[in-house]
Symmetry: C2
Subunit: 472 residues, 2 copies
Amino acid sequence: MKFADINQEMIAQLEAVVGQSFVFTDAQTRNDYGHDETEDYVFPASVVVKPGTAEEISTILKLANQWNVPVTPIGGRTGLSGGALPIHAGIALSTDRFDKIIHIDEQNLQVMVEPGVITHNLREAVAEKGLFYPPDPSSLGSCFIGGNVSENAGGARAVKYGVTKDYVLNLEVVLPNGDIIWTGANTLKNSTGYNLTQLMVGSEGTLGIITKIVMKLLPANNHNILMLVPFYDGAQACEAVSRIFKAGIVPSALEFMERDAIDWTMKFVDGVNVPIKDGIEAHLLIEVDGNYPDVLFAEAEKITEVVEQFNIDEILFADTEDYKNALWKLRRAVGEAVKSNSVYKEEDTVVPRYELPMLLKGIKFIGDKYGFKSVCYGHAGDGNLHVNIVKGEMSDEAWKIEVPKGIREIFELTVSLKGTLSGEHGIGYVQKNYMDIAFGQTSLLLMKGIKDVFDPNGILNPGKVLPDYLQS
Amino acid sequence: MKFADINQEMIAQLEAVVGQSFVFTDAQTRNDYGHDETEDYVFPASVVVKPGTAEEISTILKLANQWNVPVTPIGGRTGLSGGALPIHAGIALSTDRFDKIIHIDEQNLQVMVEPGVITHNLREAVAEKGLFYPPDPSSLGSCFIGGNVSENAGGARAVKYGVTKDYVLNLEVVLPNGDIIWTGANTLKNSTGYNLTQLMVGSEGTLGIITKIVMKLLPANNHNILMLVPFYDGAQACEAVSRIFKAGIVPSALEFMERDAIDWTMKFVDGVNVPIKDGIEAHLLIEVDGNYPDVLFAEAEKITEVVEQFNIDEILFADTEDYKNALWKLRRAVGEAVKSNSVYKEEDTVVPRYELPMLLKGIKFIGDKYGFKSVCYGHAGDGNLHVNIVKGEMSDEAWKIEVPKGIREIFELTVSLKGTLSGEHGIGYVQKNYMDIAFGQTSLLLMKGIKDVFDPNGILNPGKVLPDYLQS
């Protein structure tokens, strides 16, 4: 689609809507809001706007339709699929000012929050009231809860507690035409019409701009046990994962890290040092949580019995809060560590968890075939494996030509194992042209039809989710 | 919309598709498949068809589009909102022959099942493998799992374990145009495109016909404690509900029954007799479950402490399996018992749970205003209150004129408390013209737009979910 360019008159009108101090055309701001954490992409918008209310967003979207100018909603800029990149320039609409926790409802165990609240801050605020918001994406210290909803973010605790979608009850959304709606009700159950709430979750800012979020909370629990298990064989570590569930345990985290992931990260972050023996190929980081320490000890013992059936080194139990924090810091920093090490591409493969060993072997095989190295880690309990393909010594040409072929094969393998392209990062900009692997033409046309119902002029976050040939 | 009538040539073609023995035009069969459990409605279709494969359904839907004949998918006929009523005659498409549990995947804790499997049978089959499918609608002995998905059914265990939607990973669906798709992947996490799976769940057979369901399972737990708490004040029983959660307990069931509900049901079912003192207005039936009896005793003790702060009679602990079964039989039979007692209408109100006392008082107030009596019971832990409005001595005219006004006010109250029309029964045929209370015109037009994308000719289950003025 050919969009109109932003001109001075439009800038003036945007200033009239949100106030002059919240409209930015300087190169620095445009650059800052032109990237997230997706590889090294930068797409500066023509103007960055920071509205303060849903009504202001409504007015901006109405103008954008009149002007035929694209609008890209932007949260914490921690995305890994490029969902918030203003690839067609136009207006970058930041939710920075939607930073309020409106109401923690201790009676109903719910919270109403604006999309620009940092996930960690939300978790801390509800924890102070004895409540628990489980989803904890690795970027939780800087990502926005609105972005979590838009990408249906997961994190380490999803294996027991579910992903973001499982906590969203109701959303206030500004639709592309400027209308403001609530998608549902503030209830735990809802069988009232089509599920607009869940349609909006994970739609990556292409169907509307979220301005309020009502989420359910759980009562807090107070105890956990964290253990790190070193495996001499990476595929065995993957196998152990489904055995733990078969033993009747649902851990609160079950994370997988290849040797390189842990080695590189220890070099990257300060103050975390785990002694690793030669020959160790992978680690599982396993947590159980709950209210009753005795139960946790029993569960940790059962887990120990399961993993000891494999070829492992001594299990490390994190016996202090500091040690626990250090191990989590290590795990959460893997993505950044790999990124700092080399140019890379990250895939967010997900399969039924028993298929993990097959997936891991297949990824290595495909890497050998196309000449690339990969570092794998992720939420093994969910079957969600992040595949970091590192450029290293690869030629620019091979990186450009061979790697996409390899990625396509990885995704084909994933889908053949009954998995799919993305477990928690979304499709966004970088994976959209692989969507044909996960969906046939009929399904893609349904999605395109839905997009057209919500956004007939295609002005909201164009160029995302759907493959290029289905973009308006 | 004016649909075409079924003629002999069409019948012959349907027989060619599914075989002569699976096409029924006799009055008895048409009548049998012309009703579910919704009040006393009967809408016989012109023909009842029982296909055996997704491909046969595909062919039938293609023909229906050509013929301009409506198709109503029908499961176990236990629905309470009339979602499966062939209100425009045409073809009643029964899923009776889709009765196979295709695969219980013990490695991944998943099951692939056809929609015509009875929910109870599914739960038993996975239980034999040490696995647990939690949703247990009261009709579980006769409802189909496909109907559960289509209505997003809940049940007593939803309060801890979630509703049907929380277990659906992937669906094979025949779309209205005859195309067959899978909506997602067999993974616990999925951020790949718009969530067609969750759009299909709860869409009441208006967007496609489900032919395979992939669901997640949990490891089974082995212990539970069941207690029945009699309250002298019904509103206090409702208040106790949110106090239990505030105490940090998530019970596996937390059910509310008004005095009339329990009295009428004891007369209706055999072999269940609970001594109830004069002045008792309501009961809470509370269950905790898990793997560790000590934990359950501790939780039951905490619950006891909470409820003893209210005006209650002695708590009854169900100390044998037989007694537990009897109490559950009592609870599950309430709907039928009320139905046997009088002509009635059932509303499926749901609010944030702390608003329950307000909802209950409001319902009684509105009943007094319009001259009707109501019997209330339901899943109080979810804020889901079934309101049975009984005709009793009311005149036919008052029943017809006054009751709908009262229902509208009940729903307005529900929505003003941040709740909505249906927690688990769906909108179907009987509640569609109240949809304007829960949704503004913009949201309803979005839903209508989605319906048109999936079913441009409006042949699949017409006259459901959306209000009459938005029906094609």
